[in-house]
């Protein structure tokens, strides 16, 4: 078998023509094609097979190739998207390398679209001529095999990240679970109740959190709280990860969570997990019931930061060597094969729409502030109160704060309508006589469960609904002991009622760390700033970088079941792509730098969507990592010196194909 790909005249090509059970031959006359094709250089023979993709047809193909022993094969049949892989697999039973095959699509691109049989036959002949001209320049290629690591890095311990970590650990894989906060559970663990069924957030999550901390597979989950990923390099199967863990000043091993240190702490600081609505000690639990059940010391708030030698927390601790006042940040390095990003989303800052009064008018609360207010672990221990510690009897709920708004976020945030009706439910439960007014634009309640929440809210006697057109036409005005919601009609602002509490439901926006993390991971963000999927519908949990996955709201608004499903989906992708002991098999269609002719202009460095190109400073040349390269050919086109070649798509091969079709 000739394998030089130099197109020399001795190279023989066998041409196979599929009738597709009569579908192709209805338009294209194989006898005429045969006569024309046998005249082409290199073509040794022309064989017709009535249905090549059938078991019988494939058998005939293999038998015929083994008898006639061509150097290269051209198959004229349906689109290569349908059966090129089938034919390549069949070639495994012959001496012909699968890359020495060229498929010509004479069904979709000829028989089905050309009306005139004579024209169809001419077009089929031209296609085969082009394939023959190309295939003599093809080179045999072998699949690339690389070893892989089966550990996984999961960033973020909310519902999505925890679910992923659990699935992986239960399948026997090691997981490094990195969480920025001192506790796990993500956002819903901070909610008094979760829509649409009004379950208690921490209670709903407790079994999952317990599994992560103490379950059967917990010893395969290395949980790093108060930690952030600071460096990632490498590729699918082999990522080197650097993690920076802040000091907790409390021994995770020794501490029993008795809180005696918390009670002893003399320092006070605004409570970060209650939106600053109350104070907490510098040494504190994140909030009541937070897991792991360990306090943490906020050293910026500690009186030691001002130079005082306070040891109150250590003195109060009943267990020796548990409060560690000289604890320091750690740098941790791990090698993993895959990465799941589950860092969650952020909340649109309602202060960006100043006329809504958030932060300026008392009694105007954002959704997370009201979540905390209604939670027993929150600033008021669950007491819902209007300013002046009064019972709210008139409550306004403003929907779509930032969502579906061209000036802010032009998407629907998916969950805020449910949140708004959940608030309705909470208020109604505590204050049955309260009047509640919803200021909304759209009402979105998809799925089988949420509808009940909608119907429940819609049909309450003391509820009213006001639809507004643009958020810019809604404002909240501070009045003595009450807040007035006003709506604008033309230039005129008119009152839409006076309220004790105004609850804003802001849009879900990309998390604060998204941009920095996307740069670290070399994954892209979309035009809203969320992580960008490989394909929003068909590969929704996959990033554009092989081996890096997204789960939950880090790549767009979604609810808890969505996050949990995606945690599992990402896990499935990892379990099927990285199997312990199995080498990773990669398609050999890769780009390669001809190093001896590279002049180091660095044009190619920024074009690779997979970040497969690096610069070899020692030799002054670009280098492509064959494992990361996906063979897209962008750098081949961009290289102005013509020294990057794409395997199976060399200039010579492409030119030959073009000359063939144009001849």
């Amino acid at each position: 078998m000739l394998t030089t790909g130099d197109g020399s005249m001795e190279t023989t090509v066998g041409v196979y023509f599929c009738h597709c059970g009569g579908i192709i031959t209805e338009k294209i006359d194989p006898a005429l094609v045969r006569t024309a094709v046998l005249e082409f250089p290199h073509v040794a023979y022309f064989t017709e097979i009535s249905l090549m993709c059938s078991e019988e047809g494939l058998g005939d193909l293999v038998r015929d190739i083994n008898e006639r022993r061509p150097d290269r094969v051209v198959i004229a049949a349906c689109t290569p998207r349908e059966h090129e892989k089938t034919f390549k697999r069949a070639l495994a039973g012959t001496a012909v390398n699968p890359f020495l095959l060229q498929v010509v699509n004479i069904r979709e691109q000829v028989a089905w679209v050309v009306d005139d049989p004579a024209a169809a036959t001419r077009k089929a002949v031209a296609g085969i001529r082009s394939a023959v001209a190309r295939v003599v320049h093809n080179l045999p290629l072998q699949k690339i095999e690389v070893p892989t690591r089966d550990e996984t890095l999961v960033i973020g311990a909310g519902p999505a990240g925890m679910q992923a970590a659990l699935n992986l650990a239960q399948s026997g894989r090691s997981v490094v679970l990195v969480e920025k906060h001192p506790m796990i559970g993500g956002m819903p663990v901070r909610y008094e109740s979760v829509a649409p069924n009004m379950e208690c957030g921490p209670c709903m999550l407790e079994p999952m959190m317990d599994q992560v901390l103490h379950g059967d597979a917990h010893d395969r989950i290395e949980l790093l709280t108060m930690a952030e990923v600071t460096g990632v390099k490498g590729f699918l199967g082999n990522f080197e990860v650097t993690i920076r863990q802040q000091p907790r000043f409390v021994s995770e091993v020794n501490c029993i969570g008795c809180s005696m240190c918390v009670d002893a702490c003399p320092a006070r600081t605004p409570h970060p997990y209650n939106c600053g609505m109350n104070d907490k000690p510098a040494m504190a639990m994140p909030f009541l019931g937070a897991l792991p059940n360990l306090p943490y010391l906020d050293m910026d708030a500690c009186v030691r930061a001002t130079g005082e030698d306070c040891t109150a927390c250590r003195d109060a601790c009943p267990i020796p060597d548990t409060v560690l006042l000289d604890d320091a940040a750690r740098t941790i390095e791990r090698t993993v094969g895959s990465v799941i990003v589950a860092t969650g989303a952020g909340l649109f800052d309602a202060g960006r729409v100043p006329q809504l009064g958030h932060g300026a008018v008392p009694g105007v609360l954002s959704s997370i502030e009201f979540e905390r207010m209604s939670s027993p672990s929150g600033p008021t221990a669950g007491k819902i109160a209007a300013p002046g510690d009064t019972e709210p009897q008139r409550v306004a709920i403003v929907h779509c704060v930032g969502s579906l708004d061209k000036e802010h976020c032009d998407y629907c945030s998916a969950v805020c309508c449910q949140v708004a009706f959940k608030f309705n439910h909470l208020v109604r439960h505590r204050f049955p006589e309260a009047s509640i007014t919803h200021f909304h634009r759209e009402l979105v309640f998809p799925g089988k469960e949420a509808g009940r929440l909608l119907l429940h809210g819609l049909h309450q006697e003391k509820n009213s609904f006001v639809r507004y057109g643009r958020l810019a036409d809604v404002r909240v005005v501070d009045q003595p002991n009450e807040r007035e919601v006003q709506l604008r009609d033309g230039a005129q602002w008119t009152s839409a009622g006076r309220y004790d509490l105004v609850l804003l439901c802001p849009a879900m926006v990309p998390g604060d760390d998204t941009a920095a993390l996307s740069a670290l991971l070399d994954v892209t963000t979309d035009r809203w700033g969320f992580f960008e999927e490989l394909h929003t519908r068909m590969s929704p949990t996959q990033s554009k970088a092989a081996g890096i996955y997204f789960a939950g709201t880090c790549h767009g608004p979604g609810d808890i079941p969505h996050a949990v499903s995606e945690g599992m989906a990402a896990t499935a992708a990892i379990l099927s792509s990285i199997v312990p002991g199995r080498m990773m098999e990669l398609e050999p269609i890769r780009a390669e730098v001809i190093a001896e002719r590279c002049s180091g202009c660095k044009i190619c460095l920024s074009v690779c969507p997979y970040r497969a190109i690096s610069f070899d400073e020692a030799n002054g040349v670009a280098a492509i990592n064959a494992v990361i390269c996906q063979g897209c050919g962008t750098c081949v086109a961009a290289c102005p010196a013509g020294v990057i070649t794409g395997a199976h798509f060399t200039s010579e091969q492409v030119y030959a194909e073009l000359r063939g079709i144009l001849a």
């Binding site: 002719r597 002049s599 180091g600 660095k602 190619c604 920024s606 102005p640 010196a641 013509g642 020294v643």
Partner: protein, 345 residues
């Protein structure tokens, strides 16, 4: 003593710079004369075409053919010198890539004639005299060579053995090739490029190169570029990235961009297309992220408008040898033929 091998140099549609570059080998000319019989060079010697015609086929060992093929006479001379030479070398950018003369392919022969002899602002040609192959005067018919429809490279008309690129080729490189032949060293395979490197000008350029991101381009007079940073990174369209090495990086050395005179690098057919691919790769797309489709198109147009003459800039030396070859001249001729046909009908 055996007769010395014969060498010649011819100019077709060219400026004479190639001959000057040859003369610039200075005293090496004496060595050239010691080793060769320099038989033909209209710029320097008095031998005529009929002297060449009188020679045997293949009698000359080497002919350096510079200049593009613009007229029927250029083409005739290409065929004649091909026949009489053992080795025919496309010498300089005009013969190898069409160079400046081939930029005429961006328009039609008729439009060129009209600009030069008809409507030019400095012309006073009321009777509209335009030169043509035959002009009848009272004394009889005057003839001129035919001004061809397109400008071709030497290889577009005849078989070429080697290429020495450059506008003009660097004298040291010319001498290196001649010295190589004098030394009797084996020549590389037919079709090879001589007197040049196999990398790009960037390889010789001493500037620091980093990852590139350009939001607009500048003409050379618009900014004073930093002397150490890659010019392309500063928004100057430097062709060094897509130009064969061999000159030593002279232009970037004096703070001027490479204009591409050594033509496409090894393995590249179309220098301009490679430049377009590369420029497309370095234009900053970040500002386009939130733009609508129409706005993106407008933005790209704005960025590209900062390069006033794309074809003239990127194909200055290589249009004739590029994938476009005849360029617009061929396309327009075809359109005109179709139009004429439909008009006739």
């Amino acid at each position: 003593m055996a007769a010395k091998p014969k060498i010649s140099m011819y100019w077709a549609s060219s400026c004479g710079g190639c001959e000057i570059a040859l003369v610039n080998i200075h005293e090496h000319l004496l060595e050239l004369a010691d080793n060769f019989d320099f038989v033909f060079c209209p710029c320097l010697l008095d031998t005529k075409r009929h002297d060449i015609e009188a020679m045997d086929d293949g009698e000359m060992l080497i002919t350096f053919f510079n200049g593009a093929l613009r007229t029927s006479e250029n083409i005739e001379m290409a065929h004649l010198l091909r026949r009489k030479s053992t080795l025919l070398v496309a010498f300089g950018s005009c013969a190898s890539g069409g160079c400046i003369p081939a930029l005429a392919n961006l328009t039609t022969r008729e439009a060129l004639m009209e600009t030069v002899y008809g409507s030019g602002p400095t012309l006073d040609n009321a009777v509209h005299v335009v030169p043509g192959p035959t002009t009848t005067v009272p004394e009889g018919d005057l003839t001129l060579p035919v001004f061809e429809r397109t400008v071709g490279t030497l290889a577009s008309a005849v078989d070429v053995d080697y290429v020495i690129p450059g506008c003009p080729p660097e004298s040291a490189q010319i001498w290196a090739v001649i010295a190589h032949v004098i030394a009797g060293k084996p020549l590389p395979p037919k079709g090879s490029v001589l007197g040049a490197g196999d990398k790009t000008v960037c390889d010789d350029c001493k500037r620091v190169k980093e990852e590139k991101l350009v939001s607009r381009f500048h003409r050379t007079w618009e900014i004073i570029p930093d002397r150490t940073q890659c010019l392309l990174e500063q928004g100057i369209v430097c062709m060094g990235i897509a130009t064969r090495s061999g000159c030593g990086g002279l232009c970037p050395d004096v703070n001027m961009p490479c204009i591409g005179c050594y033509g496409p690098p090894e393995g590249v057919r179309d220098q301009g297309a490679k430049m377009i691919g590369a420029l497309g790769a370095i234009i900053d797309v970040q500002p386009m992220k939130d733009m609508g489709e129409a706005r993106v198109a407008a933005h790209i147009a704005e960025v590209l408008d900062t390069i006033p003459d794309l074809a003239g800039t990127l194909y200055k030396f290589s249009l004739g040898g590029s994938l476009m070859q005849g360029g617009l001249a061929t396309a327009n001729a075809a359109t005109q033929a179709t139009t004429a046909e439909s008009t006739a009908r």
